[in-house]
Structures are given as C-alpha cells and as structure tokens.
Amino acid sequence: MPSLLLEIGCEELPAGACREVGAQLPALVQRELGFAPDRLFVGPRRLGLVFEEVPEQTPDEWLKGPPLALRDKAAAGFAKKHGVGADDLVEREGFLGLERKGRPLREVLPERLDAIVRGLSFSKSMRWDDSGIRFARPVRWTLAKLDAETVVGETSFGHRFRGGPLEIPHAREYAERLREAEVEPDAEERRRAIVAGLDAIGGWSDPAGVLEEVVYLVESVAVLEGSFDERFLQLPERVVTTAMQSHQRYFPLGGNRFAFVANGGEPDVVRAGNENVLEGRLDDASFTFERDVKLGIDALAERLGAITYFKGAGSFADKSERLRRLVGELGGGEATLEAARLAKADQASELVREFTDLEGYIGGEYARLAGYPEAVSAAIEEQYLPDSSGGPLPQTEAGKVLAAADKLDALTTAFSVGQKPSGSRDPFGLRRAAIGLDRLAVEGGLVIPRSLLPDEVREFVEERLEGLLDVPVEYVRAARASAAPDLGAVAGVAKALHEARESAEFDGTYTAYERAHRLAGKAAEEAAADLDPALLKEDAERALAEGLAQVEVDGDVPAALASAATLAPLLERFFDEVLVLDEDPAVKANRLRLLLDVRDTLGRLGDFSQIPR
C-alpha cells in the first residue's frame, strides 16, 4: 500500500491557530479520508500530514436518505442534493439511499484535500480572495503525494528566506527533505530544540509563558543570547522582564542578560539588532516609569474618577471608596485603609496602561517611592493574590484584607449588574476571584463574615469551597447550611463533621436530627410559633426540652457534637413515651415545635440530611 503526504502551505499562522489546527486535524482527516495520519506536523507556514500506508481505493459508502414512507415527499430532494435522479436511489433497511462505490484515492484526493482546508475552523478567520475559503491566514499552496507521484500541487517550499520551491521526491521523505532545507516541521521537535538551547545557556525563566508561542513563531530554531546596559537594572525587575516578554518574547536570564529564538539570519547581526531594540524598549519604559514617579501615587489616585472600572460599575474612584468600606468591615487597620485608598492608583499610570500585567506590583513600587510604610506598599502589591490556582497568598495581614476586599467587590459589583459567569463565559475572572476569596479564608485564616456577601454571591463563593476542600462535597453542603459565621468557619465545620463521621457523638447527633426532621419537618406549618413550657405534660418531653436548653452548638465542632449528642437518648425516650400527634391541638402544636427546635438547634451544626448514611 502506498504512503501519502498532504501539505497545506500558509502565510504565517498565529500560535493559537496552530494549536486549533493541531486539535482538529486528526478527526477531520479521518472523516474526510476514512483513515488517520501517522504523523502530524504543525508550524507557522505549513500543516503536514504523513500516512505510512493508505488503501488505493476509498471504501464504499452508503448515503442514507429519507425513510421509505417519505418517498413521495423527500426522495426527489435528496436525489437532487447528491446530483442523481430519484430513480437512482436504492432501498436498504427501510430507507432510501445512495450507494457510492469506492473510488481510486488519487482521484478523490484533490476534492478531499480541499474539503479538509475548508473544514478547519478558527476562533478568528479571514478571507483573502474569492475562493470562499476562510482560514486564519491565507493558504498559498497545497501538495498531495502518493509515494513519488504528485497528485495535487507541484512542490513544497523551504525556509522563507533561505530556500525557494522544494521538491519532495517521495511522501515518506517529507520531514527529512524539509530538515535538509532548514525547516523543522514538527512542533514537538522545535520545542525540544528551543528548550535544549535555553538549557545550554542556563538560568532561563519564562514568567509570562512565551515558550508556547515561540514554538510557532519559527520554522528553524536558533537560540541566541544577548545583554543590555546595566543601568536598566535600576528599574523595578518586573518592568524589565515584562518589557522583554510581552513585546519581544525574550527569556530573562537574570541580571542584564536575555535569550531569544530567531528563525534565521547571521547570529551576530541578529543579536546586535535585538539588543538595540531591547535597550530602546527599556529606555522608553524608563521614561514612562519616571513620569509616573514624578507625578506620584497620590496624584495618580486623584485621576481615578476618569477611568471606568467596568460598564455599569462606576469609576475606579468609586471602586476605591467601596474598597475602603469593605476593608473596614473586614477589620482592616490604618495601613489597610490607606492601601485601599491607593490600591487602584496605578490604573491611572502610563506603565499599567502599557503593561496591564504590572498592575498591583507597580502600584506597590510607586507607594514605596512616595515614602509610604512597607505595610501599605506590600498590601497594594499583593492585592491581586492569589492570581492562579495554587498561586501564593498575600504574605502580609493588610495584603490579605485588601485582596479579600478587592475580590469581594469584584464579585458583588459584577453580580449586581448582571454579569454572573455562565458556562465558559467569565470575562471578569469571577470564578478565580471566588476561589481566591475561599483560599484567603481557609488557608490564609482571614475572617470573612458571610453576612458581607449578598445571597447570590455567597452561594457562588461557597459552591467553590466544594472543589477546594479535601472533604466529600456532602459535608461541605451540610456545613454551608450551618450557622458558621464566616467562610473559614464553614470550611472548619465541613472538615470537623467529616473527621467526626465515625464517632458516637456524630451518630447520636445525626440520628436525633434525622428523627426530629423526619417527623416534624413536613408538619412545620402545624407547629406552634414558640414553645410553651406550661403545655409540656409528660416527663419525657420536659426532659427533652431541658436537655435542649443546655445544648451548646455554636462552639468548636467536636464539643458541639458532644453536646448535641446528649439529645439522642432523650429523643429516643421522647418517641417511646410521648405521642406527638396528641388529640389536643395545642399540645400537638407544642410538641411539633419542640421537635423543630431540636432540629434547628442541631441544624446550626449543618444540614445533616445532605450527608448520606
């Protein structure tokens, strides 16, 4: 059986488009050709598919049409769609349809390759001529070869500037010939070469994650090293690395050195050019930084009234006001209040307008340069933490409070203008904010009263606890219904209930809750509004009422469980000796009330009905 090569030659595709193609091509090719490629090559200028062995004939196909019963209505339309007459349709298993005989692969390849090109879809696509094709960038050539025979197109092409048209003598020699022409078609191979080159230099980092893009910015890998004037080391470090990474896609090597990946050229010439460019970028960043510093963080803060936070949510000045109030409610002190006032000042800075990634960090730097205490500056710097799952929390107390206030405000404000995340849509990063808030409470030990969160926000934030805590979700759900006053306490209740789940105390409390709930829960509307001690006639019910009065469930969970469990035997005796549904409606209502009080008191520990037994 012959080997097959398909190549789609493009103008330089963005990295994101390359990744989209990589994900779609195998299934698309399988659908169009009936078999999958053995090798998939994805790069900025070409998509290559190599099949080691393919059948020379495509398989027979059965195109299923309308059911026999609809022959009169639908047969003609179906036939027309496939370019045949209605008489050509045949019956099979109750349906009309069309038998398509397999055809020689060489005959169908042109149309199938075209269908593959048209079948790829991109998040951003364009047209460039009247072919009707949409693609991420223009497609400029296609090539299909069965062994040594060229079926579609003429040649491939080598490196954009070092090679012109390139003969591929045989489908199996595709990658080898390209490599001879200084093109590495395999993305994995390019990544390996880049990492190997960076490792050989040593000490590299990639804080902004440009490696994944650089893999698709070159067809030929040359890892080079450069340096810049040491005077730029006086700039805040992240300003330097951000200028390097976001504009230039360089890899910081520490100090005044950097590495980068070129697609060609003479190394010394290319290095000198890149050094020149980076120094220009840094010089520009210095000017911008110095202008911000000269203005000062206080003056920047005064400009926040003119900058929209987001649509419907007022300005950043409004946001700062809200932050100060929230920080106060979260128990923040003077330093935190001051940090809240200045927290968003850097939104008015030129540096953040240019490099959004520097928000927070550069605000902290500007506060330090303006002589604010370290507690204030550090809190400003840490306000966006944690900014990733597993990312670090703020280290300072003021930082934790400010970070919580920032997230709380983001959630509350977005929810209030109807911007609740839905499905995969979460433009304001509210899921991350909610998880951050939970982590500040659970891991950071910050007391975040649940009463500060509007109901809908509280639901959203506490739902995120379910994935965060290492406890089965039922316990988290039970704890969410508890009277725990703050987010950390909810987590604490969930963990404590889970830890105690095998204990006699848990069992006693669970049983008492369950029995009281099962009997009285459905009859709540018949219960008295308040318990009337005068109506308690039987010893058993008086004992239960007295026991209930002594139960203390609002302390730490093990002690609360121990206290609550004392009700179990009292309740058992109650059910043995007392008929709840007494003939006297007043007595009956009073007994129902007693049971509901038992349930609700125990319920302050959590909704035990969430926990399966």
Binding site: M126, F161, G273, D284
Partner: protein, 289 residues
C-alpha cells in the same frame, strides 16, 4: 556602505512601489491618526474597483506627545503606506522585495511575521495580519482588511504600513529617533524636536476645550448635511476632523470615561454613513446605463 538617510529610505520605497505600478499619492491635507484614515486607503478599499497606491503619511496622535523628551514617543511621526487591492497571491514576496530594495539582506537578518489583529473602532474597521519584525524591531504593520466602516470589503486589500522612524532606526542602527539622519548632516531631531515640544504643549495644555467641543458637533452636523447632498468625499473630511478633535479633547483630559465610548460611537456612525453613501455612488457609477 553607508546607511541610507531617512529621505533616501522614502525615495527607495517610492521607487520600488512606483515600479510595481502603485499610484504615488501625497500626504492628506488634514490631520490623520494613521495612514489608514487617508481616503486613498479607507474609501478606496471599499467597493469593487482595483486600486494600488503608496504614500508617506504624517501621523498625528496628540496623546502620544512627550514634549520631545522621550525618543520613542511622538505626537507627530511618519508612516509609509501601501495598499494593493486585491492582494495578489505573492503580495508577501512583493513586500519582502521592498525590504531588499531599501537595503535589508533577508538572509543576514531575522525577519518574522508575528500575529497582529488590527482593529480601529472609530472607523468600524478590522483586519488580520502581522507585525513584521526585523531582528526584533517592529518595522511594519501588515493587514488584510476584512471590514471598513462596518462593511465587508469586496476585494480583500493588503495594507502595508511601514513605521518609517523604526525602520530607519533599524537601518541606521540608532537608539533614538532624534538621532536619525534625515538628510546628510541633518538629524530627525533637528527637523522635529522643537515641533514636538510646542505641539505637546498645545495638545496637553493650550488647545481650547470649549471651542473643540463645539467644533466636534459642528463637524458631525456638516458631515450629515454633506451626506444629504450625496457628497461623501467632503463628508469624509468632516469625519477626519471630528476624529482629530476627539483626540485633542482626549489629550486635554476633557473626556470622561463614560463619554469616551459615546464619542467613539459617534465617529464610527459617521464613518459608516459615509462608507454607505460612497459605496452607493460607486455602485451607481459602475451600473450599466
């Protein structure tokens, strides 16, 4: 070989694109924030007619002025603009040919196309393309227009916008645009540094906010009146003037965040209405009598 001066580079580009068959245009007569806004690009890119042009465009961006102190930011600088409609299949090679024509040896340097999705909300315009890097320096913005004035383009044009200062900084190995050699013995700074200082003062401190605010509305009204008379070309000038007036007000800090979106929307609406009338006239002209 001595590096080409600023004016040599312009001459080389003019020669190359004239030889290719472009109509060499001259800068437009009112302030533009980009060569794209010149009617030779914006309007000519609409409709079914073929068109090839190349020209120098002085770009006026009041907010970007730095009083001549920052050698990388100016409120007035230069683009070299090329539009080829429809874009031929070898249009990238044509462009690379122009780099060779101005003295860039493509084998010695690292020339790369880096994703850049272009969008100009005030013109209701977008396209896909690249920044072209030469040894890390962004020397060109390259765009296949997809929409202008809210209308899909009929023939897809390639727009090639060379940043002349950056291109010449690369060619002359200069770290500051002020140090570029404009003509033998005369630097870019000699020609324009004082200009930057004075215009920055005007843009940021002096430009009369009340007058400009009034003018914005007048340009808007005049644009609409001209469109009623079916005169989209003069109407388009009023769009440009309104857009520049907005930029000046912005530099003066006279536009609040909430107003900004509204202003941009007003300019975009004008641009769309002009594009519509322009297209209608163009269609009428092409229709068989």
């Amino acid at each position: 070989m001595a590096a080409p001066t600023f004016q040599d580079t312009i001459r080389a580009l003019e020669g190359y694109w004239a030889d290719y068959g472009c109509v060499l245009m001259q800068p437009y007569h009112t302030e533009l924030a980009a060569g794209t806004m010149n009617p030779a690009t914006f309007l000519r890119s609409l409709g079914p007619s073929e068109w090839k042009t190349a020209y120098v465009e002085p770009v006026i961006r009041p907010l970007d002025g730095r009083y001549g102190e920052n050698p990388y930011r100016f409120q007035h600088y230069f683009q070299y603009q090329v539009v080829i409609k429809p874009a031929p299949a070898d249009v990238l090679d044509l462009y690379f040919g122009s780099l060779e024509a101005i003295g860039i040896d493509l084998r010695r340097h690292d020339v790369r196309l880096v994703e850049d999705d272009w969008e100009q909300p005030t013109l209701g315009a977008w396209g896909l393309g690249w920044e072209v890097w030469c040894d890390g320096m962004e020397i060109t913005q390259w765009t296949y227009f997809q929409q202008l004035g809210g209308f899909d383009v009929e023939l897809v044009p390639a727009e090639i916008t060379y940043g002349l200062e950056r291109l010449c900084m690369f060619l002359q190995r200069k770290k500051s645009a002020f140090d570029l050699e404009w003509a033998p013995g005369v630097s870019w700074g000699d020609v324009y540094r004082e200009n930057e200082r004075q215009w920055s003062a005007y843009n940021f401190e002096v430009a009369p906010v009340d007058v400009l605010t009034r003018r914005f509305g007048e340009h808007e009204d005049e644009c609409r009146a001209l469109l009623e008379r079916r005169l989209p070309l003069p109407a388009y000038d009023q769009v440009l003037k309104a857009s520049h007036t907005f930029n000046l007000l912005d530099a003066r800090g006279a536009i609040s965040a909430t107003e900004r979106a509204a202003y941009i929307g007003r300019v975009r609406n004008l641009a769309r209405e002009v594009a519509q009338v322009y297209l209608e006239l163009e269609t009428d002209a092409l229709a068989p009598a």
